[in-house]
């Protein structure tokens, strides 16, 4: 450790390796099986619609201006505007939306080059160098979570951000579940950075995992279940209100 104390590390290496020990401990995945099936649960009661997960995603992955791998939908009309029922009662809630990492991904089926594939941890990945930019996958994805690099990407600041190399122009990109972080044993950045602790990451095949327990206890739902995509992202329903 340097003279600046153990909270500052100064050797060039991966962002995860460079984490101070206490921070790394916070985001540690812990022991995993040899063949995990990574998934995520989003507690919509705890989601406060703050976009911290979306912003850290953008920063971590050097996503150009105008593109989001992860965004927060407000149920109803505009951003942070309530739904008004016929009686005038208002409700407001949020649905964070990124790649659902389907077990039966329609995007993979239509990819003519095999650039989209199911990779480690059963995650849906894109090999950017093999992507020819045909965007069949974008048409096939019922969740609208893939984005396309049309032209010269713009970044703010221009030098870019984060720790993931930028994707080439003319390719399709999307959430990787921060597979580069998983490789080093820490949770995806959106999970780390959710100030409301609304995101639970874990192995859906591990019956003892927190994520499996929460999905069971809270009746976790998948988006567009009728499409037969079998997403690995689950949404936990809001709690019942106890009005006066």
């Amino acid at each position: 450790m340097s003279a600046e104390g153990s909270t500052t590390t100064t050797t060039a290496r991966s962002a995860v390796e460079a984490l101070p020990p206490k921070s790394r401990e916070y985001g540690a995945i812990g022991t995993t099986s040899d063949e995990p099936r990574w998934g995520m649960a989003v507690d919509t009661e705890r989601c406060i619609g703050c976009w911290s997960c979306a912003v850290i995603c953008k920063s971590e992955n050097d996503i150009p201006l105008g593109m989001w791998w992860n965004r927060i939908l407000t149920e109803g009309e505009g951003l942070d505007q309530p739904t008004v029922d016929n009686g005038g009662d208002m409700t407001m809630g949020w649905v964070p939306l990124a790649c659902q990492h389907c077990d039966d991904p329609p995007c993979e089926k239509v990819c003519p080059t095999g650039a989209t594939y199911v990779g480690e941890g059963k995650l849906v990945m894109v090999d950017q160098d093999n992507c020819i930019g045909c965007r069949y996958c974008m048409a096939a994805c019922p969740y609208g979570v893939r984005v396309f690099n049309w032209g010269d990407a713009e970044y703010a600041p221009p030098a870019g951000t984060g720790v993931v190399p930028p994707r080439p122009t003319g390719s399709v990109e999307k959430c990787t579940m921060c597979i580069h972080r998983l490789a080093e044993g820490v949770v995806p950045s959106c999970v780390w950075s959710c100030p409301a602790e609304a995101r639970i990451f874990g192995d859906l095949d591990d019956p003892n995992s927190d994520i499996v327990a929460k999905i069971k206890a809270r009746g976790g739902k998948q988006l567009l279940e009728d499409k037969g995509t079998h997403p690995k992202v689950f949404y936990l329903e809001p709690r019942r209100r106890r009005p006066l």
Binding site: A15, P20, S23, M90, G119, P157, G162, E184, L244
Partner: protein
């Protein structure tokens, strides 16, 4: 692609990495793990004016911050991770287009935004020469140093105070100027403010949230309310607006803006009428039993009873003895055997032989509360009488129950009355000083967590503090005589890290003051409209480029800011800048500024590093390792000592001497009856509801709508208004939120350009028609930059700078001083082409 990968790190080379798991795409796996290396990761803190100072990690590559992410290393794990989307995006301002890279000297007319680049030597020589000329001609006190939120950077903001002390400049204020000083607190409890630490919210069984929107404005703390709900607590939100917080509540009550005190009094009325009040608690801890003379409205003192009696000892009616009993101010409770009456009128013979009718102060309080039946409160505030009754019963029977009050309730000319009314509710139910309970006002950054005197003061001198409201708008006829307002008036402004010319109330009035100044110097790192109005601009290092010390009101941790990168461009720290200026202006004082950042931190820690002090045993070296919990109780809740040990109010608060705070509540008790002459003449002796002040200044017929300017989720005041990611999310145009009824009546639809105006000013922005906002009100979230409006300087063209004379009864800067009533404002809206 091969070239690109040269700089990457494949996961395969990382020793000890966890397996990601085998998959079908094994051949491509290496590429999917590619990352770019970082040179270092620095543990530091965020630091805008949000009261958060969240612990962050700065990831640095090639001398630039490439990622900011929560450190999540608080020793109390409940707080992890602290940080919001704004803090995570701050690298866009550090390295953004609006960053000021060099000193600038004005070339056009003031406000034209025309500058030329200058060397530091030229800029410093010029500022020093001007300050010296003004100082020797008019007195250095005619220079106003303005900065924001010292707690978000004790070291460099402290350098402002230290320099002001050395040169004799007057330093301004922010907590009161920002309207965040909840005047109900010093009036009632003798404290500047005093709130429960955020994690204690999770311990409540009932949360009454009034005029506060933590889900949007305290994002890192919001989860503690969710935790409380998860554990079965009921959440009730009282707000004119259907906010994000209201959306998570069990019950949302829509009230008329500015009527929170009426709501509170209706609730108190029903608590007492239902026999749910804890009158023993009231008798023990408050001034309820102290007798008040009905002839003068003053409290009865021992000195009234006999010559030579102590004017600082008070009198109760001992019902057991059927006689008056004198009580001291050294201990709460009642002397043994005294059964103090809370009602009745008693004929007391005074030292001069007269017989005076006296009654316990509680009698006057009760009389006022009795007027506020739920029905009457409902008429004023707009919530139903039935819901007021339900709130009363649920709040009074929950154990414990908390009140969270925010800026929506506080930011009114009579915000002190709302505070006094809710303090009364918390006290009559015995919720003061208990975990999960309390009356907490969460707005603004104020709390000085340690005794900073060794750093703030120098050469045996201390900066004179003048509330910035008097700088901005001139002294009032009722200004307290202790305010050290300069004899020659103000000639110069030295504005540091503040967007004062956009973010101050009644900004057109302020600009008339600014126009009359000889010199305007602005230190900042972003090209704000305040910077554009400077004569000399000095570029200053952001909080990722310097060492500092932070502490926040809601989180009892001391944290070190550590420089992640070198100052961007030619920017320098405040300490560096003042070192250079003092050396030029007063070389004999220069040595006092010749202190390293580390030594300044040591000086800050020193004075409170005493037995029982908040920094006892805390060292710079410990802080370099991460956040350290201050030596305060856990959970950190106010008034525990008063409630458990009957210690008189107020508790010690830095930096004011305790003797000054004792003047606020001379009885040493929670005071619901105020007997200072100005309270008596204003008819404000007891908590009551007063109609919004602007109703008597503006013409409600011409300006029928209330103009509300709450804090935005997407900004910290005006910080982040220019942040590209925030602008992608919520847009780049100021929005005027209107209820459909008000919009229809004016032919206004979504996206129409509308002018919002009153007698003080106007601006043009774009309408959003939204049921979430109450009929009869218009909401524009404050903090947009002028360029984000179609016309005008922004919301503060309309807001009011009126000073409430009650806020001038005493004077301790930021503790009992004028608090701005941002939301006490009327307007009209019309469509423009």
């Amino acid at each position: 692609m091969v070239e690109r990968r040269k700089v990457l790190i494949g996961a395969a080379v990382v020793g000890g990495a966890a397996a990601v798991g085998a998959g079908t795409g094994a051949a491509e796996a290496d590429a999917s793990h590619d990352t770019l290396p970082v040179d270092k990761v620095v543990r530091t803190t965020c630091s805008p004016n949000c009261t958060g100072s969240c612990g962050q990690l700065a990831f640095v590559r090639d001398g630039r911050v490439v990622k900011i992410q929560q450190a999540a290393d608080y020793p109390d794990k409940a707080y992890n991770p602290r940080g919001c989307m704004k803090g995570l995006s701050y690298l866009q301002q550090i390295h953004g287009d609006d960053r000021i890279m060099t000193p600038l000297i004005r070339t056009g007319t003031r406000g034209s935004g025309e500058f030329r680049e200058a060397t530091w030597d030229e800029a410093l020589d010029r500022v020093a020469a001007e300050l010296k000329r003004i100082g020797t001609t008019y007195g250095y006190d005619s220079i106003h140093v303005f900065g924001q939120v010292p707690g978000s950077g004790y070291l460099h903001k402290g350098a402002n105070y230290r320099a002001a002390a050395l040169l004799g400049m007057t330093h301004g204020t922010s907590f009161d100027f920002n309207g965040d000083l909840p005047m109900g607190m010093p009036i009632t409890f003798g404290v500047q403010n005093a709130e429960h630490e955020a994690k204690d919210w999770a311990n409540t069984r009932f949360a009454l949230v009034v005029g506060a929107n933590p889900l949007e404005t305290r994002i890192p703390d919001a989860k503690f309310l969710l935790d409380a709900a998860d554990a079965g607590a009921q959440i009730v939100v009282v707000d004119p607006t259907f906010s994000s917080t209201a959306a998570k509540a069990d019950t949302w009550l829509r009230i008329e803006p500015g009527t929170d005190a009426a709501f509170a009094l209706g609730v108190v009325n029903h608590v007492l009428a239902s026999g749910l009040g804890d009158l023993d608690f009231v008798r023990t801890y408050s001034d309820a039993a102290l007798l008040v003379r009905t002839d003068t409205g003053r409290r009865l003192r021992e000195a009234d009873l006999r010559s030579g009696g102590d004017p600082n000892r008070y009198v109760v009616w001992d019902a057991a003895a059927g006689a008056a009993a004198v009580i001291g101010t050294d201990r709460l409770g009642m002397p043994a055997g005294v059964s103090a009456a809370l009602d009745g009128t008693y004929q007391i013979r005074t030292a001069d032989g007269a017989v005076v009718a006296c009654e316990p102060g509680w009698a006057a309080v009760s009389r006022e509360v009795a007027k506020w039946t739920p029905e009457h409160a409902a008429e004023v505030c707009g919530a139903s009488a039935e819901m007021i009754r339900r709130v009363a019963v649920a709040y009074a029977t929950a154990e414990p129950a908390m009140i969270m009050m925010g800026g929506g309730t506080n930011h009114w000319f009579h915000g002190d009355m709302a505070g006094r009314a809710f303090a009364l509710l918390a006290t009559v139910t015995g919720n003061i000083g208990r975990s999960g309970g309390g009356f907490s006002v969460y707005v603004g950054q104020y709390k000085v967590r340690l005794d900073p005197s060794q750093w703030y003061n120098a050469a045996g001198k201390k900066a004179k503090i003048v509330p910035s409201v008097y700088f901005a708008y001139g002294p009032t006829p009722t200004m307290h005589p202790d305010v050290p307002y300069p004899k020659a008036g103000y000639k110069a402004l030295f504005c540091t890290f503040a967007n004062m010319f956009v973010q101050s109330a009644d900004v057109n009035r302020l600009m008339r003051t600014v126009d009359g100044l000889d010199l305007v110097v602005v230190l900042d790192h972003q090209m704000t409209d305040t910077v554009k109005h400077a004569d000399v601009v000095l570029p200053v290092a952001s909080w990722y480029e310097k060492t500092d010390l932070t502490a926040t009101p809601l989180h009892p941790f001391l944290q070190l800011q550590q420089a992640a990168i070198e100052p961007v461009g030619e920017s320098r720290t405040e300490l560096d800048i003042w070192r250079e200026l003092v050396r030029r202006i007063a070389p004999e004082q220069a040595s006092y500024m010749d202190v390293s950042e580390d030594d300044a931190v040591r000086l800050l820690l020193a004075a409170s590093n005493v037995a029982g002090g908040p920094t006892e045993g805390i060292t710079l070296e410990q802080l370099k390792e991460g956040p350290v919990r201050l030596r305060v109780p856990d959970p950190d809740i106010p008034f525990g000592d008063q409630i458990r040990n009957l210690t008189p109010f107020p508790p010690k608060q830095f930096p004011a001497p305790i003797e000054k705070l004792r003047e606020f509540v001379p009885t040493g008790r929670i005071e619901f009856y105020k007997d200072d002459a100005r309270f008596i003449s204003a008819g404000e002796t007891v908590p009551t509801y007063l109609t919004p002040h602007d109703d008597s200044v503006s013409d409600p017929a011409r300006y029928p709508l209330r103009f509300l300017t709450p804090h935005s989720k997407w900004r910290i005041h005006s910080t982040y208004a220019n942040n590209p990611w925030m602008r992608e999310i919520h847009g780049d145009r100021a929005q005027v939120f209107m209820n459909p009824a008000d919009a229809d009546a004016r032919g206004i639809r979504d996206d129409h350009a509308v002018e919002v105006f009153n007698e003080r000013g106007s601006f043009v922005a774009w309408a959003v028609v939204d049921e979430a906002h109450k009929e009869g009100s218009v909401t524009v979230f404050e903090g947009w930059w002028p360029g984000q409006f179609a016309r005008g300087r922004g919301v503060n063209e309309l807001t009011s700078s009126e000073v409430n004379p009650i806020h001038e009864v005493h004077f301790v800067a930021n503790m009992w001083s004028p608090s701005t009533g941002w939301k006490d404002c009327r307007c009209e809206v019309r469509r423009v082409s």
